[in-house]
């Protein structure tokens, strides 16, 4: 019954990915992003400078936003982790936290570029908010920051492919 369709959560993910890809080679932002990746299960990417890796953290039920009905509308909140990786030239003298601040700010700006309705992610969500940034330390060989974004959406209780307002 669902072949060829995308669940609401995947539509949101693809819209988020589309917005992040607007940073690729875009001269209007301070950060010149080189790659945006949704990793596969194994061996999918190599860390590089100015790279964004988009992954999913958790999907939680939000009971207070559910609606009764036939079928009822269930509300969920998905948290995406936007990992902003930095492996800049080791001879570069710029403070790394300067680059981190610019990268995180550009990510937030490109996602919220459509001022009035950015949080709906192409009318698939009812709310969205950025959570606390998590800076990387360079122990793994590269630096950067993770920008989490929590997006709340509703679907039919019996059909996660159908969005509800």
């Amino acid at each position: 019954m669902s072949v060829g369709e995308l669940p609401v959560v995947e539509k949101i993910a693809r819209e988020l990915l589309r917005r992040l890809r607007l940073l690729l080679g875009n001269g209007t932002y301070n950060t010149k992003v080189k790659e945006v990746v949704r990793p596969a299960r194994l061996e999918s990417y190599t860390p590089m400078d100015r790279q964004i890796v988009l992954s999913t953290d958790s999907i939680e039920a939000v009971p207070e936003l559910m609606y009764p009905g036939n079928p009822p509308a269930v509300a969920k909140r998905i948290t995406f982790n936007i990992h902003c990786n930095l492996l800049n030239d080791e001879k570069c003298c710029e403070p790394i936290n300067y680059l981190v601040h610019m990268f995180a700010a550009d990510v937030e700006q490109v996602i919220t570029a459509d001022d009035s309705t950015w949080h709906t992610f192409d009318e698939n969500a009812i709310d969205a908010e950025f959570l606390s940034h998590v800076p990387h330390n360079a122990a793994g060989g590269f630096d950067g920051v993770t920008v989490p974004i929590a997006i709340t959406y509703r679907t039919d209780e019996n059909n996660p492919y159908n969005v509800r307002a």
Binding site: T46, P47, M48, L87, K91, V134, G140, G141
Partner: protein, 115 residues
């Protein structure tokens, strides 16, 4: 030839000998031309790059001699952009892997982490 010179020479001729355990990989420096080098590639288990990551990547420990012809010199190495081109698994096609850390080095050898 002193013992120091002998060991340093052995780094290229013995430890990074393609007739034994080394293989030819391509070194792509951040700036400059790529070149073939000899390296011992230790293919390790997949792991998280750091504690903030939630996707795993392959990890490699790569041993190269500290010279500018068939290895990488410690002064030319740049941990912000240098890459190596080799197969993730033996027999597979090669792919680009970033050099993420310099785990150890001396006058004769460099031990690199690639992901």
């Amino acid at each position: 030839m002193t013992l120091h010179d002998t060991i340093k020479a052995d780094a290229e001729t013995v430890f990074c000998n393609v007739s034994d355990f080394a293989e030819v990989v391509i070194y792509y420096p951040r700036e400059g031309d790529a070149r073939d080098i000899d390296a011992v590639v230790v293919r390790q288990a997949l792991s998280l790059p750091n504690e903030y990551s939630d996707s795993i990547t392959p990890v490699f420990e790569v041993h190269v001699s500290n010279n500018s012809e068939r290895g990488i010199t410690s002064e030319e190495l740049n941990l912000g952009g240098d890459s190596l081109f080799f197969a993730v698994r033996v027999g597979e096609e090669s792919s680009m892997r970033s050099i993420t850390q310099l785990l150890d080095h001396d006058e004769g050898m460099l031990v690199l982490e690639c992901r």
